[in-house]
Symmetry: C2
Subunit: 237 residues, 2 copies
């Protein structure tokens, strides 16, 4: 039976052997939620960058640019890191490619490429990710982007929610991280948005952007797509 | 109001600025539990080593040697990593100095020396550690040794239990790690030993040594001492 483990920070990735495994990279607030939303709204593919200037430079190649630093849209880019940027129609996205960079999420993607497959997970596509993993029948490592590399509740809750969905077909008890995430999910899931408002960094984000962002990012199964990161691009599987 | 944070692995310590703060190093199963027990039983001081041979060499300087690797007492040493080694009288410890090395705990100690003070915490001296921290009135970082550097439930539960004791005088909500540990403590604390038996590495330890070890290590407030790590030695504050 394949197992599911959770790595709470990209800084812990050296402790994990990703080969033969599937990495599910998650940055609930808000990179992976935005990636899922954008691709679901017809973005052709996304290219993640760690450096803001390299991201901006893609505009000259016809890319839309999406960047945030510390929760705010960066200067001289088309989009920030909010899923609503892909929904509100202010910037048409269907059929466009997007270059993205974020504080936490793109780093997690780049550090996960030792895995057999790297997929992008969010509550928004939770069921689709679970189905994909059932088909793969490989060990799973949920790679949490975290907040500035530190443990964060929202990414951990995603790990717990995913483990809960897969608990009949995957070994969820060989890792203390997974056991803890499952228990935290049980505590939080009657009201995930309310639970996350305990977190000071979530409250800070809430004050920067509309509170609708966080409430949107905790919706489950809005989209039935699985973004896969391969050869430097994120595209729908 | 000072704050309390929890660092789930020594590998995450580069993300934390320990200066001006108190580090509470914890390795519940079983290094910090053994250190507390040994000093409470009259050991004069302990010197932690990362290398087994360096530890063994201290025998020629009159030290008792205590070492474990992967849960078992190492060869050619006086003691393993069980608190019962300091209680059962087979090796007299009162008035003796002990050189120790463990898989996880000594590394956490050595990596924490940037803090103003480094103390050793366990459930066994939980109240004494809380009192010490109230007197210091400095920010606290609980440094979990983890299991092979990975998140482990028992060290995290200690962090949650400590945060719970300090919640009136310390800010426990500025860190997601602390919030999570508090919630896990609430889930576990009706039966901490039973909760930890969900963990496969705990079950593995249980099969290697007497189950009494784990049940002893989750007892709260057995000892009223605070071991402090300073100038390479661990001594009672």
């Amino acid at each position: 039976m394949p197992s599911i483990d959770i790595c709470f920070s990209p800084e812990l990735l050296p402790l994990y052997d990703l080969s033969g495994r599937v990495a599910v990279v998650v940055d609930i607030l808000r990179a992976s939620s935005s990636i899922v939303t954008g691709l679901a709204q017809g973005v052709t593919h996304m290219v993640p960058f760690s450096e803001l200037e390299a991201c901006r430079a893609m505009a000259s190649e016809g890319y839309l640019t999406a960047a945030e630093r510390d929760g705010r849209q960066a200067e001289n880019v088309d989009l920030g890191n909010s899923p609503f940027g892909y929904l509100d129609g202010l910037v048409p996205v269907r059929g466009r490619a997007v270059a993205i960079t974020t504080t936490n999420g793109t780093r997690a993607l780049h550090l996960s490429t030792g895995a057999d497959h790297v997929v992008v997970g969010a509550f928004l596509n939770l069921g689709a990710v679970a189905d994909f993993l059932r088909q793969q029948q490989k060990d799973v490592v949920v790679v949490c982007a975290g907040w500035k590399g530190k443990f964060c509740l929202e990414d951990t809750l995603f790990g717990g929610a995913l483990a809960y969905r897969l608990a009949q077909e995957f070994d969820v008890s060989s890792s203390d991280a997974t056991l803890a995430a499952l228990d935290l999910w049980q505590v939080a899931q009657p009201d995930v948005a309310g639970y996350l408002l305990k977190s000071s960094h979530v409250r800070r984000l809430n004050s920067l952007e509309s509170h609708k962002d966080m409430e949107f990012c905790v919706r489950e199964d809005e989209y039935n797509i699985v973004p896969v990161f391969r050869n430097g691009r994120i595209e729908v599987a």
